[in-house]
């Protein structure tokens, strides 16, 4: 409660209040360079948490592949929906 006030741009997403969300989004960097940097940071976070550890198991890769399957399902949803409609009229 007695912490120094943090400016909106420096807050992480989970600390932003719902009403502040649009203005927080305005402070983020959506240039191609910024997006690439965001992807790179996300990759490093996942990598260092699950794979680059002393006794990493199959879990890190398995979670990634399941996420990829889910992403593929999302990408093909339109086609799957049409298939389902065609099969069951």
């Amino acid at each position: 409660m007695a912490d120094k006030a943090v400016s909106l741009a420096e807050k992480r997403l989970l600390d932003v209040k719902l009403g502040q969300l649009p203005s927080w989004l305005g402070t983020r960097d959506f240039t191609p360079n910024g997006l690439l940097g965001g992807v790179r940071r996300g990759y490093e976070r996942y990598y260092n948490k699950y794979i680059n550890v002393k006794k990493g198991g199959i879990g890190g890769v398995a979670m990634f592949l399941v996420g990829y399957v889910a992403l593929s399902y999302l990408w093909e949803y339109d086609h799957i929906k049409h298939d389902r409609w065609r099969k069951y009229h």
């Binding site: 794979i51 002393k54 990493g56 890769v61 990634f64 990829y68 399957v69 593929s72 399902y73 086609h79």
Partner: protein, 227 residues
């Protein structure tokens, strides 16, 4: 009904990005660069061991000139095997089922081996068109046949990979559809078909690895003749 089975090979796009783009970019993400640490993490260690062994094995029959191709052939192998194996997961897209991609790999690499042979040792490269010990009357015919077989190589490389993977995926989809349709009607037949499906999936895993290996092996063979 039959038309729908080939729809799995059309890359669907969401928000303008086709799925094939993500599927091609995926192997790059799966292989992290090894760091300068003394002992890397387990993933990098396993991958490094595999790539080392494979490259050693591949470079054995090649002369020193052929060793310049080590990086290209090793990365091609890793790329193909990753794409083939990941394509076996549900709902994923396998880029190597597209003939365009496989021809895009086969033609330039084969042409490179031919041009290297023609530039460095043209007599030997042309001499490959006539096997030793052929009877004299057969020579003209054999040269024509060998030339045709030389030019068919890139076509065979590309189409072999495409056809194997496409056929495998189609079979899996067909048999899986059969299991689902038979389940309410004849459960025993459905269970037998499910066992067949399981065996087929194992075969597909093997085919995925073997086809990638054969592709790279044949390229190294063509290189061996010409380098």
């Amino acid at each position: 009904m039959a038309m729908s089975f080939f729809d799995q090979f059309a890359s669907s796009s969401c928000m303008g990005v086709p799925l094939i783009a993500i599927a091609i970019a995926l192997p790059w993400v799966m292989y992290p660069t090894s760091t300068s640490r003394w002992i890397n993490n387990r993933l990098i260690t396993i991958q490094g061991w595999f790539i080392n062994r494979f490259t050693n094995q591949l470079m054995l029959p090649l002369s020193m000139g052929g060793h310049k191709w080590a990086l290209l052939l090793a990365s091609l192998m890793v790329f193909l095997i990753t794409i083939n194996m990941i394509g076996l997961l549900p709902y994923t897209f396998t880029p190597t089922t597209q003939l365009s991609l496989n021809m895009g790999f086969a033609v330039p690499l084969w042409l490179a081996t031919v041009i290297i042979g023609m530039r460095n040792q043209p007599t030997v490269a042309l001499g490959h068109l006539l096997p030793e010990g052929t009877p004299i009357p057969l020579i003209p015919v054999l040269i024509i046949i060998e030339t045709i077989s030389l030019f068919i190589r890139p076509l065979a490389l590309g189409v072999r990979l495409t056809a194997n993977l496409t056929a495998g995926h189609l079979l899996i989809q067909l048999i899986a559809t059969a299991v689902f349709v038979l389940l309410p009607m004849m459960p025993t037949v459905a269970i037998i078909t499910a066992a067949i499906l399981f065996l087929l999936t194992l075969l597909e895993v093997a085919v995925a690895m073997i086809q990638a290996y054969v592709f790279v092996l044949l390229l190294s063979l063509y290189l061996q003749e010409n380098v």
